[in-house]
């Protein structure tokens, strides 16, 4: 079974500053990893995914994440945030078996201030 931990429930940051949202996972098998964004009163939107290959994954809206197998992490980064990036961010993990389901973290609230 897999589990995922998002250590920061809230991350405040000023506009144009860099940001990192942390995600750590636990699994006894190889995994797929995902980041989602949720704007207020909306569903979740896929930001990026790691399935295989390059450990640096680029997604939409200028976000990227790096898969670190030795540290079992998949942190999300953006070099310069905008007010519009204010949202809830969810990390998710799944095993690679065909019956494995996505397991979501508890989310990190990114608040960007002017």
């Amino acid at each position: 079974a897999q589990s995922v931990t998002q250590l920061d429930s809230q991350v405040p940051v000023f506009e144009e500053a860099p940001v990192e949202l942390r995600c750590n996972y636990s699994s006894s098998v190889s995994v797929y990893l995902f980041w989602y964004v949720q704007y207020p009163n909306q569903g979740l939107q896929l930001l990026l995914k790691y399935l295989s290959g390059s450990t640096l994954v680029k997604g939409i809206n200028g976000f990227e994440a790096e898969f670190n197998k030795s540290q079992t992490s998949f942190h999300l980064r953006k070099p310069s945030v905008h007010i519009s990036d204010t949202a809830e961010y969810f990390c998710a993990v799944s095993g690679r078996g065909l019956t494995d389901k996505l397991i979501f973290g508890t989310g990190t609230r990114l608040q960007v201030f002017p």
Binding site: Y32, F34, Y36, Q42, F90, T99, D100
Partner: protein
């Protein structure tokens, strides 16, 4: 392209009333379907998932039930709503269970 629809977008119901939330997917066949609940300021709680017509798995025992009468239709129901059923309900689908899920816009349910 594939799309997912949820309705209604918002719903206000009295305690003890019944509930029916509907989710439909277009542009794909035999999707895996999921119902989640998101309480205020909380993460996602998986309620039900389905891998085919009539096949429902419940993750959490509760006051709710789910049904899948057609391949791309997933319904969340309750016979008598409780105050604790308030929340934001999200439907999602994917083609394989370990692949990214695609979410609907959600239903905001308030119980009075």
């Amino acid at each position: 392209s594939q799309t997912i629809h949820q309705w209604p977008a918002t719903l206000v119901q009295p305690v003890g009333s019944p509930l029916s939330l509907e989710c439909t997917v277009e542009g794909t066949s035999n999707p895996n379907l999921y119902w989640y609940r998101q309480a205020a300021g909380r993460g996602l709680q998986l309620l039900f998932y389905s891998v085919g017509i009539g096949q429902i798995s419940s993750e959490v025992p509760q006051n709710l039930s789910a049904s899948r009468p057609q391949d791309r239709q997933f319904i969340l129901s309750s016979k008598k709503l409780l105050l604790s059923d308030s929340g934001f309900y999200l439907c999602a689908w994917n083609s394989l269970s370990n692949q990214p899920q695609h979410f609907g816009d959600g239903t905001r349910l308030s119980i009075l």
